[in-house]
Structure formats: structure tokens, C-alpha cells
């Protein structure tokens, strides 16, 4: 990128500088000079440049407009014309001067919107807490400012706002009220009531150090009067009488439990109950604060302080350990229990100070009985606390209110409900705990327990409306219910969309969190989930597998061409073959005495070639495990061994800098040459096998003619990092090289070239990436996308956008703890395998959008038409020379192709199968023909005469009638008898459709008008109230025949009520890339009529939520050239889309399934 105005002297990374300036500006707005200093210290490279502009930033950041221009305005003369005169200038300056002397003109330090920052009162994972004054209301508030607003990603922010808004809905005497959530100058904040008092963690610390009154030492800051009073209340009680102190703690506990119960009833879990989040005000009243904010931390990874350990200490076992177990409200009960325990005993339940130790304690150790620490504690109180902090959620109180009730029973000297665990229970607990640890550590064995929860402000508000309406009439109750439903539906759409995004980022935990709250809580709550939920749920729970078998690191992998088998090799010298489905080892190939550097399957999957550190390349028979041949043409290590795609040549590369080419049929050496002066780092064949691409660390990348041995192509790059790998796209048109990032020099990344001729190429923009490992870059099998690896353990999928200078990061898979050697996507794109320096080898089902995809072609022809039958079992393709191909989909989603040769002899522009699959209507370029496929008649059996008048035909749902479109109308015909039941006159008709119940026939015209004819009532005609916008291109009835959807040439889909003929909804999303009109090719209703799938002339299949009219998500199928047909299976478990792939002769069938077939 060239920037004209970059100062030439500067070597600074400008985007980074800009980012730092943003961070500094954010700090300045709230007056945190100390942190600005820290930023400068942390970034010495940019510090000088930053310091230069810092004074500017300070001034700008504290500008306060409220006192501004209106005052200077009046001093300016009304006419300023032409050149400025001296006097004008003077006056302007005078106005400057006047402003400076005016008392009103005071710049207020640290004003954030309506809030004036008074002082910092604390900081933690959530950011910084300030005491502030809300200027408009003149009230004191606590302002929590989220750290680094500009750096948080959208999902985190969305989440933060949802949770905070939900918590803002809580109204309880013991919950600190949230006044609002907002964003000013890019800083996100929560404003809540300022509690004058002290948090219990400070209280505990102070109580511990009594009688020295040591808490004043805390933070070095003077406690406010309120804090002192609050402290006094507690400490006086404790020193006066231990008994009354215990009772006081029980009271506080009961109040906190009440507050929690209230929140739990609203579906909000606190997740971070700890002494620091319980406040005691100056009247001794208890407040719970920071509801729902805990989960933000985990996502943001921006935890500022070592506060995490402090939080961990109070976490329930399921929260601290559970990777996949879902945490419910009982986690709060546990955390409150530990807090009370600490308050009573003066020490934490688990006192460990390192993470691992605490985790172990939480999982394994029984807490010291309270009365051993404080003998004066009543046995009932001890029992209550022990029950609250039971390891298993099921052993704790059912609800926070149960805990509160029991605490109050203790206070009232009544017998408590809690029972001490029997010795049998303890034994059971130990056993269960071990299994819990097992569960937490071994992924894939965990049964996910689901707990319904939903929480955002919309739902909360709607629920409140429901509640208040209860006291009014039934009518308004119904309205309120509608509103609640409305709100829940919008939440649903938002969450689906977010979950899909999370899926593309491989964040399954986030997906589950977003999805789980839409599981109906009880039978009364309506289930809003549709196809998309079930699909995403499947993705969210797809498993990742560690393949265990290799000793040490794995350097190389290869999938067999059918994606069923995986070969791996590494530092232990053994090649292992795995069953991809089961993750089990099928065979081990022993022979190499040192590292295995590359492995490659032969296309038939029966042989394998490998390159070894022992100086040999070896050919293996997979069936027997025998070594067939050993190639010993190199001195020293063999780094690469490849079979050409045409299977006639084997190429090996070695540390001796030589490449050896062998005849693959007789293993004889053809040629030896030295492609580079330095070591060869990457080797690949072009798909036609005619060219061998080699790459060396410092470049260039060279293409060699395999036959002649001549250099044909020399590719250079501007990226400085050493090239470690190279890959060629399936069509040979693109080459990519991976550059290793060393010492954060900014030189790592990917270089791309587009090959335009024998020795000509265009260099596409390089991608300079952070942290690129470079050791593995591989094109994905079916498209211009490549997988690359990072030094920190990630695998990234890059996608070519079609624009030479734009690449898109499609997915980031966070997979390993250390640098990744190798990442590869299986030919069917269903699996991703990767290996790392940390000895891991992982196989995961990819969470790319498509569950499965199949390429389809008709040999020797171009595919001109596609149709899917309504039962989604049969897909018919019509070819340009009259051949028809039929695919049959079985339950296991495997496809059985049937080629039907039909002597049409001309292009089939449209093809329709009857729903019972007995009839086929083929629309040719000049006429239409109908044929029977019934078993009694042979395929291609009795022909109806070609009818030149008919331009398209449609079958009724029962396959007994057919509607044949002619230029000025539609013939409604009995199929077997060919008896014309009615003729509808409708000039310009281009589309028609029967309703599933057989009552309606809909016809649409080129002009966009749509007519409905009542087939059961004298063929009466109705017209949809449309304003013609564009040519009608597709039409579909909902499954219950109450709705009809129309798609037009301008990309808009409209939804109509059959009953009222009114437009109900409109679905449109603009095309972001091409700007071309995106004709709607196909529309499909899900069987529950909740979701609309839309296929247009773009690469996305879009799902829309009918109730809200909002887009749920956009699936990107493999097809790049538009989506021709979309269809849901009748059971709602599958979505199928068909469209042309990269090449016009090739079509792709993409299937999304709610159940991964494996």
C-alpha cells in the first residue's frame, strides 16, 4: 500500500501507530495520563513520534464543546468577504482572547458525555470504575468503563451490551441499580448507582488484620467517611460478640441470596459472586453488583490485572473446570457460600495462590470444616454453608431462595433444612468428583447438560410488560404476549446470526452459549427454533479429535483422495495411516530410520510416497504395508517427495539442493538438477503435471518444465520472510507461498501469483500477517482459498475475493499451544488436520458452512437446467445437448448418480420432475416435451408429442395435474388424459405454481404481476396487490398454502398473504461485491414455514426469518457463480442448494444438514 503522505523518514508501522493513538485518546478522555505513559513505555519504537503529538492529543481530547462556539459567534462581524482584513483578524483573535478570560469557558477534565469523572475507585477485569457525577441529573454514579473499547471485537461488545442491558432490568433492594449503558467517544461504559460504602473483600482484609485497624493501609488511599462507617458496623459487631457477628453474616448472606434469586428468576446468572462484588453501604445494607458482566472477561481476554485468581477462588467446580458443562444458577449459590465461608472464618475456602493449585483444590479437596477454624460458629450455620459449597450442583440448594430461607431459619432459631452429608454420600462424592475431573479434561465424552436461559433487555422488557398486563384485561395480555414473542424472535435472529459468525471463527463455546438460551424452558414457552438453529447446534457440538500414536512431532500429513484415510509422518520415523471417521490407526509403515518429511497418497489410495531424513524417498504398498522401492538419489536428507498429478513422474528434493525426477512406472532416474543456490523449501506440481514449482527461502519461486528441464517461470515477491512452503491451486492458475515470520519483523505472510500464460504471471497483493509460521500453505481443493499456519498455534483460512488486491480471512481455528507445522483440509472439505511443535495432531470436522458438497457434470455438455423435487430426494440436471442426469439422495446423504441419455438433441433449458417422479417435463429451446418415467413404461418410454406452444410446465402436488405455460396464458390439464380442465388467459405469464393443498394456481408475469386462481371455486381470479417492480423470476407457496413468496430480477423477495393478497414482508440484502442485479433464482420455505431460503445470482444462500423479516445468516456454498435452486427436505433436516461451480460445465450440490452424518 502506498500512502502519499507518509513521512519518508518514518519506518514506523503506520496502522499500528494509528491504533496506539486511538488507545491514547481513549485514555486521555478519562484523564489517565499514567496509562498513556505506560503505552509510551511499552512501545518504544513509536514513542518518539507519539510524544511529539501528545500535547496535541491532550488538548483535543479534553475539548468541551458545551461552552463553545455560540459565545464566540456573536463577536464575529456578519460579513466576512473576500480576503480577510486586518481588523477581522483582530476581531477573530479578540474573540479567542475573550474566550480565554471568560469564566464560563472552563474545560472540564475527564468529562465523558453526561458524566464528570470524579476519581478512580477501582479496577478489575471489567475495566476501570470511576466515581462520577451525572451532570444532567446531578447525581453520583459509579461508572464502569470497558477497557480499550476500540479493540474489542463486535461480538464481545454486542455481548457486553446485551448482558449489561439485561442486568439493567433487575430491580431489587439488594442489587445495585444500573442506570444505563452507553458509549461516548468510543468508550463503552455502564453507569450504576454509586454505593457509598465498602466492598466485602476490603472488609475481609480489614477484619483479618484486626485489631490493628490495618485496613487503612489498603491501596494507600484514605477511606471515605462512608467506608469507615460501613467498616465500623461490621467490625464492631465482630469484636463485641462473635455470635452476633455470625448472625450478621447470615443476614447479609440471606439478603444476597434473595437478590440472586430475583436475578435467577429473570434468567440472569451472576457468575462472579465474590467478596469484591458484594458491597456494604454506610447504613450496613448489602448490595450485589456487577451482574452478568463476568462472562465478558472470558471472551475479551483483556483482563487487566491478576484479578483472575481472585475470581477463580470463588468459582464453582463446574465453572472452573467444566469445559463443556453448562453452568447454571447453582454456580452462584456455590460462590456465595464460599464468600460467606470466608467472611465467617477469615480465610478463603481454598487458599492456593497459583492457578493449577486452586483448580485442584476446587476439584478435589474438601474444605476445612468451618468450626475447626471458628469453634463458636453454630453447627446449623456450618451445615448451611457446607451444603452451599457442595462440589456437585445437585447437592447444593435447589435455588438461592432455598438458601435464603435456610439462613433465616437459622436466624430465627428454627431447625434448618440442610443435612450434613452422610459418609456414604461423601464416598459417592469422591467417586463422582474424579469422574468430573475426567470429564473436564477429556473432551468429547461430555454429555452436555442443557439449562434453558435467556437474557437480554428485549426479553426482559417484554416479560415485564406481560407481568403488568396480567393485572389488566385479557386483551392487553394477548398484546403483551405478542410483544414478548416479538422480542424473543428478534433475539433469536440476532443470536443465530452471532452464532454463525462464531462458528466461522471456530468458537464453539460461544455458539453454544448463544444457542442454548433458545431451548424452550418449559412446555409453555413456544419453541422458536428452526432449521438454522439445529444446523448450528450440530456445528457447535462437532468434535475435535486428538490423534494419539506418534512419538514426538508430526511434520507431514496427506488425505487420500476419497477423504477416508489420513497419512501422517514425523520425528519418530513411522508413517501412520488413520481412519478419518473413527480416528483409529489403520496401519503403521516402518522403514524410515529418521524423520519423515513428506507423505503423499497415490490417487487410487493404494500406494504412498514418503521423504525421509535418512536420505531415502520410499514407495509403499498400503494394502500390505510393504516397502516397494527406495529412491536414494540424494546425499543427505530428502525433504520432499511428490508424485505428479499425471502419475508418471516422481520428484524428490533434498538438502543437497538437488531435485531428482524419476519415471514413476519403472522408478528409473530421469534427471537431476539444482533449482536454487540454497536449500529447497517448497515443491509442488502444476495440476497438468507439466511443471514443477520449487521455492527457496529467500525466493524466487521457479516453475520448471518437467519434460525439458527448462526454467519457464520465475516468481518474485516483496515479502522478506523466508519462504517455507508453496502450493498450486487445483486449476493451476494461482500459486501461493508461505513466508515465515521471524522475530516479529513484519515480513511473514503469504505471496500470491496468478499465472496468465506459459511464463507470464501477475503478482497479487501479498498478505502480510502477524505471526505467520509459513511451514504449511495449501490451497483448498475446490476454490481459491488456502490454509496457512501461525507460530502461536492457529490455522487460518484465506479466501480470494476475486479482486486481485483483496483477500479475506475466512476463518481462524485456534488449535494448538505452539507453532503449527502443517495444516491441511481434506478433499471433501469436511476435515481439517493440523500438527504442531507441541507434539499435537488434531483432526476436526471443519465448521465451514457446507456439510457436504458434490461436484456434478454431464460429460461433454454444459448443464443448462437444474431441478430438485419437493421431497428433496431427486435432483435432475439438463444438459446443453439434451442429456439428462439424475441424482438420487439417500438418507445417509450419499448420492447415487444415474445418467439418462435422452435423445432430445437440443439444449434443455428447463426440466421439471413431477412430485411422484413419474413424469418429466423437459423444456427445450423450441418446444416442450412430456414423458412418463413410470416403472411399467421404460425410461424414455412413451413420448408425448413435442408442443412448440408450451414454454414451461408445472406439476400439481399430487402429480395428477399439470399447468402448461404458453405465451398468453396457462393450460390447466389432467395429466394422464391430457384433458384441458381450464385455460387461464394471462398475457406475459412466465411462472406458475400450484399450492401444496391444490386449491390455488399462482401465475406471475414478466411485468411482475401475480395472479391467484381458485381451482376449487370456478377458477375465480385474484391479483396480488403488487406494484410491478421487476420481472418475476421465481415463486413458491408456503407448505400450508397460506403464503406465497415471489422473487424478482432486482433481487427482492416479497411475501404475500394468500388470504388478504397483501404484501406482508420484504426481504432484500444488497450485493456487496459485484453491484450486479441479483435475480432471485429460487425461493424455498422450510417445512415449518419459519425460514425462507433464497438463492440468487450470488455465492450465498441466504436464510431469512419470516416472522421478523430479518436475515438469519448467509451460507456461502462452494459455488461461486450463483445459486440456481434451493430446497429444504420435508423433515426439515436438510437444506440443499445447487449452482454452477467455478467452471460452467461443473455444478455443485451443497447440502447443509442438522445432523452431521458421521
Amino acid at each position: 500500500m502506498k500512502n502519499r503522505d507518509t513521512p519518508p523518514d518514518s519506518a514506523t508501522d503506520f496502522p499500528r501507530l494509528a491504533e496506539l493513538v486511538e488507545q491514547i485518546t481513549e485514555r486521555l478522555v478519562v484523564g489517565r495520563m499514567d496509562e498513556v505513559d505506560r503505552i509510551l513505555q511499552d512501545n518504544p519504537a513509536d514513542a518518539e513520534r507519539l510524544r511529539r503529538i501528545l500535547p496535541m492529543l491532550i488538548v483535543l481530547s479534553t475539548l468541551d464543546i458545551s461552552s463553545a462556539p455560540s459565545q464566540s459567534v456573536e463577536s464575529v462581524p456578519p460579513e466576512i468577504e473576500g480576503q480577510k482584513t486586518e481588523s477581522e483578524l483582530d476581531q477573530g483573535l479578540a474573540s479567542v482572547g475573550r474566550n480565554l478570560t471568560e469564566s464560563a469557558f472552563v474545560i472540564q477534565p475527564g468529562v465523558l458525555g453526561d458524566f464528570r469523572i470524579v476519581r478512580e475507585v477501582g479496577r478489575g477485569g471489567m475495566g476501570i470504575v470511576y466515581e462520577a457525577e451525572q451532570i444532567s441529573l446531578r447525581r453520583s454514579v459509579a461508572l464502569k468503563v470497558l477497557p480499550l473499547g476500540g479493540l474489542l471485537d463486535d461480538r464481545v461488545l454486542q455481548r457486553f451490551r446485551n448482558e449489561a442491558q439485561a442486568a439493567a432490568g433487575l430491580h431489587h433492594p439488594h442489587i445495585v441499580p444500573i442506570h444505563g449503558v452507553g458509549c461516548e467517544r468510543g468508550l463503552n461504559y455502564i453507569a450504576m448507582q454509586f454505593i457509598e460504602g465498602v466492598s466485602l473483600d476490603r472488609a475481609i482484609r480489614a477484619l483479618r488484620s484486626e485489631p490493628n485497624e490495618g485496613y487503612f493501609e489498603n491501596n494507600g488511599s484514605e477511606p471515605s467517611r462512608a467506608e469507615t462507617i460501613a467498616m465500623k458496623i461490621l467490625s464492631t459487631e465482630r469484636s463485641d460478640s462473635p455470635m452476633s457477628f455470625h448472625r450478621r453474616v447470615a443476614e447479609l448472606g440471606a439478603d444476597a441470596a434473595d437478590a440472586l434469586h430475583h436475578a435467577h428468576e429473570q434468567g440472569i446468572i451472576h457468575r462472579d459472586i465474590k467478596p469484591g462484588n458484594l458491597m456494604l453501604d454506610h447504613r450496613g445494607k448489602l448490595w450485589v453488583t456487577d451482574f452478568g458482566l463476568a462472562r465478558i472477561e472470558g471472551v475479551s481476554q483483556l483482563t487487566i490485572t491478576g484479578d483472575l485468581i481472585g475470581t477463580l477462588r470463588y468459582m464453582s467446580p463446574e465453572q472452573a473446570l467444566g469445559n463443556r458443562l453448562i453452568v447454571d444458577h447453582r454456580t452462584d449459590i456455590y460462590s456465595l457460600g464460599t464468600t460467606l465461608y470466608e467472611l465467617l472464618s477469615g480465610r478463603a475456602v481454598f487458599e492456593g495462590s497459583i492457578r493449577g493449585r486452586i483448580l485442584h483444590q476446587i476439584a478435589e479437596e474438601e474444605p476445612t470444616p468451618l468450626r475447626q477454624l471458628q469453634p463458636t460458629i453454630h453447627v446449623d450455620l456450618e451445615t448451611i454453608i457446607l451444603k452451599s459449597i457442595a462440589k456437585g450442583p445437585e447437592d447444593r440448594y435447589e435455588s438461592a431462595s432455598d438458601l435464603s430461607v435456610d439462613l433465616r431459619r437459622y436466624l430465627a432459631h428454627l431447625p434448618v433444612q440442610a443435612r450434613r452429608p452422610t459418609s456414604w454420600q461423601r464416598a459417592k462424592n469422591v467417586a463422582r468428583r474424579h469422574s468430573a475431573v475426567l470429564l473436564a479434561t477429556s473432551t468429547g465424552m461430555v454429555v452436555v447438560t442443557l439449562v434453558a436461559m435467556f437474557a437480554t433487555v428485549l426479553v426482559w422488557q417484554a416479560k415485564r410488560a406481560t407481568d403488568s398486563a396480567l393485572h389488566q384485561s385479557n386483551e392487553s395480555l394477548e398484546i403483551a404476549r405478542q410483544r414478548e414473542l416479538f422480542a424473543r424472535q428478534h433475539l433469536y435472529v440476532a443470536d443465530i446470526s452471532a452464532a454463525h459468525q462464531a462458528g466461522l471463527q471456530d468458537d464453539q463455546a460461544e455458539m453454544r452459549t448463544l444457542l442454548v438460551r433458545h431451548i424452550p424452558r418449559d412446555a409453555l414457552q413456544s419453541d422458536l427454533r428452526g432449521f438454522e438453529w439445529h444446523y448450528l447446534w450440530g456445528v457447535a457440538n462437532a468434535e475435535s479429535r486428538n490423534l494419539v500414536g506418534h512419538q514426538g512431532q508430526v511434520y507431514c500429513t496427506d488425505f487420500s483422495s476419497d477423504s477416508q484415510a489420513l497419512a501422517t509422518g514425523g520425528s519418530d520415523g513411522v508413517i501412520r495411516l488413520w481412519n478419518v471417521e473413527s480416528g483409529k490407526i489403520i496401519r503403521e509403515l516402518h522403514g524410515h530410520t529418521l524423520d519423515v518429511n513428506t507423505v503423499q497418497f497415490f490417487p487410487d489410495g493404494r500406494k504412498l510416497i514418503s521423504a525421509g531424513g535418512d536420505g531415502t524417498a520410499r514407495l509403499w504398498d498400503i494394502d500390505t504395508g510393504n516397502e516397494l522401492h527406495s529412491f536414494c538419489g540424494h546425499e543427505g536428507e530428502v525433504t520432499h517427495a511428490l508424485l505428479s498429478p499425471t502419475e508418471d513422474i516422481i520428484a524428490t528434493g533434498g538438502l543437497d539442493r538437488n531435485v531428482c525426477l524419476y519415471n514413476a512406472t519403472n522408478n528409473s532416474l530421469i534427471r537431476v538438477f539444482t533449482p536454487h543456490e540454497n536449500r529447497i523449501h517448497g515443491m509442488a506440481f502444476s495440476p497438468d503435471g507439466e511443471r514443477l514449482i520449487t521455492a527457496t527461502g529467500g525466493g524466487p519461486v521457479i516453475g520448471w518444465n518437467v519434460q525439458t528441464g527448462e526454467k519457464e517461470l520465475e516468481l518474485t515477491t516483496e515479502l522478506g520472510g523466508a519462504i517455507k512452503s508453496v502450493s498450486v491451486s487445483q486449476d493451476g492458475r494461482m500459486i501461493v507461498a508461505g513466508h515465515e515470520e521471524l522475530a516479529n519483523a513484519g515480513q511473514g505472510g503469504l505471496s500470491y501469483w496468478i499465472i496468465t500464460g506459459k511464463s507470464t504471471f501477475v503478482r497479487a497483493t501479498t498478505i502480510t500477517t502477524v505471526d505467520e509460521a509459513g511451514h504449511s500453505v495449501e490451497f483448498l481443493p475446490s476454490r481459491y482459498a488456502a490454509a496457512s499456519t501461525t507460530n502461536s498455534g492457529n490455522v487460518r483460512i484465506w479466501e480470494f475475493t476475486g479482486d486481485l488486491h483483496r483477500w479475506r480471512l475466512q476463518s481462524t481455528f485456534r488449535r494448538h499451544r505452539g507453532g503449527v507445522w502443517r495444516a491441511q483440509v481434506s478433499p471433501d472439505e469436511q476435515w481439517l488436520v493440523s500438527s504442531s511443535r507441541t507434539n499435537e495432531l488434531k483432526l476436526t470436522a471443519t465448521s465451514f458452512d457446507v456439510t457436504r458438497s458434490y461436484p456434478v457434470c454431464i460429460v461433454g455438455e454444459q448443464i443448462r437446467s437444474v431441478q430438485i423435487t419437493p421431497d428433496a430426494r431427486v435432483i435432475a440436471f439438463g444438459g446443453s445437448l439434451g442429456k439428462i442426469k439424475i441424482l438420487v439422495l439417500d438418507d445417509a446423504e450419499s448420492i447415487q448418480p444415474t445418467d439418462m441419455e435422452l435423445p432430445f438433441g437440443e439444449p434443455i433449458v428447463d426440466l421439471i420432475l413431477s412430485p411422484d417422479q413419474q413424469w418429466l417435463a423437459a423444456q427445450k429451446s423450441t418446444s416442450s416435451q412430456l414423458l412418463s418415467l413410470s416403472p411399467d413404461a421404460k425410461v424414455g418410454g412413451p413420448w408425448q408429442e413435442p408442443d412448440p406452444a408450451v414454454v414451461a410446465s408445472v406439476f400439481s402436488a399430487d402429480s395428477r395435474r399439470i399447468a402448461c405455460i404458453e405465451s398468453d396464458g396457462i393450460n390447466y390439464t389432467e395429466l394422464r388424459s391430457r384433458h384441458v380442465l381450464h385455460r387461464f388467459t394471462c398475457p406475459g405469464v412466465v411462472h406458475c405454481k400450484f399450492s401444496p393443498d391444490g386449491k390455488w394456481l399462482a401465475g406471475g408475469t414478466q411485468a411482475g404481476d401475480v395472479y391467484l386462481w381458485d381451482l376449487t371455486n370456478d377458477f375465480q381470479q385474484y391479483r396480488l396487490e403488487s406494484s410491478p417492480s421487476s420481472e418475476l423470476t421465481s415463486m413458491e407457496f408456503a407448505h400450508d398454502s397460506t403464503l406465497v413468496a415471489t422473487g424478482t430480477g432486482d433481487g427482492v423477495v416479497k411475501l404475500w398473504s394468500v388470504e388478504t393478497l397483501q404484501e406482508l414482508k420484504r426481504f432484500y440484502s444488497p450485493d456487496l461485491s459485484s453491484g450486479l442485479p441479483l435475480a432471485v433464482n429460487s425461493v424455498a420455505f422450510s417445512p415449518d414455514n419459519r425460514t425462507l431460503a433464497i438463492g440468487r445470482n450470488e455465492s450465498f444462500v441466504r436464510l431469512w426469518h419470516i416472522a421478523t423479516g430479518r436475515e438469519l445468516l448467509a451460507f456461502r456454498p462452494l459455488s461461486q457463480l450463483g445459486v440456481k435452486q434451493v430446497c429444504f427436505s420435508p423433515d426439515g433436516r436438510r437444506l440443499i442448494a445447487v449452482g454452477p461451480a467455478e467452471a460452467p460445465i461443473l455444478h455443485q450440490v451443497a447440502i447443509w444438514s442438522t445432523e452431521k452424518a458421521r
Binding site: V59, L60, S72
Partner: protein, 210 residues
Amino acid sequence: MNATRSDTDLLLLQAAAGSDQAMESLFNRHRSRLRRMIAVRMDPRLQMRVDPSDVVQETLLQANRKISKYLLEKPIAFYPWLRQMAWDQIVAMHRKHLYSERRSCRREEEVSVGLSDESVADLASKFVDKAQGPLNQLVRTEIGERVRQAIDQLPGIYREILVLRYLEQLSIVEAAEVLKIHNSAAKMRHVRAVERLRELLDQRGDESAS
């Protein structure tokens, strides 16, 4: 994507569901920002005739009329949308009140309302006050002039980003949206603007020293 937007989205949803209250609070939350923007942008001579609050009110009325269309299309985020309408109003008003009479002596393109001279002065005045601490009137005036000239010389696009960020108090994301450029581009433009301003001030200093 903008943080304010998601929050606003909730209200928009409710507004779409027919809640007048949501509409009201939606407008309320942006009222002061709009007013701020108008005050910064509107010619002071015009401000003597037209109260910025009236412009705000007119904008919100217009927004109310157009909101359903907006909800359907959602071309841009809500505040930038409001701001755009306010902007159009200001331009129309400038055209009507100020330029019709004096087209002969002002070039037509000046109708495109920029930053008013007074806003420049305002920026300048603040620099002086913040950066210098107590100084006597004379020195202040001199520095004020220097700052003002520096701001005057700042290329338009740089001045614009500073105004958006510091006078209109838009977040960088919103500023990017208003300028129709990418976030990172806005950030970089911001740094360049600040750096250039610094350079200009230095040059001025050199000149006056020599």
C-alpha cells in the same frame, strides 16, 4: 461496526414494533449530539437568525417521517443517518439565507458548508488555553493567532476529521462512517491530521523566531 449502534438497534426494533416511547428515547439520546454538530457547522450569522435547536427539531420531524423507510433499508447506522439529514438542512439553509444574495462575489462551491471560521477560532482558542497555562493576554493572543493560522492551513480532510472527532465528538467508527471511509483509514487520517497540525505549529514557531 459501532458500539452505539447495537444499543440503538434495540430501540429501533421497538420503534419498529410501534413504540412511540422507543422512538422518543431514540431521538432524545441523539438530540444533544445533533445540536452539537449543528452548532459547530452552522454559520454564526445564520445562527443569529435560526436557532440550532429548531434545526434539530426539524431534523427529528423529518426522521420521524422517514424512519420506516430507513428501517427497511438501513443503509447506514442510525446516528450518521440523522446527521446526514441535519447536514442537508444546514446546506439548504445556507444556500437560502446566505448565498442567494451574494452569489456574485462568492464562489458557488462554498455552499458546501465546511467548518465555520468561528469553529476554527474555537479550536484555536482551546489549544491556547489548554496547552499554555497562565499567560498574559498578549502572549495568548499571539499564540492564538498562530494556532488559528495552523488550523487554517490544515488541508480540508484533516480539519474535517479533527472536527468530527473533537468538536462533534464522534467515535472513530462513526467518523469513518460519516466520511465513508474504512475504520483504519479514519484512524490513520486522524494521526496524520494531528501530526500535520503539529508540523504547522512548529513551522509557525520557526518563522516567528527568525
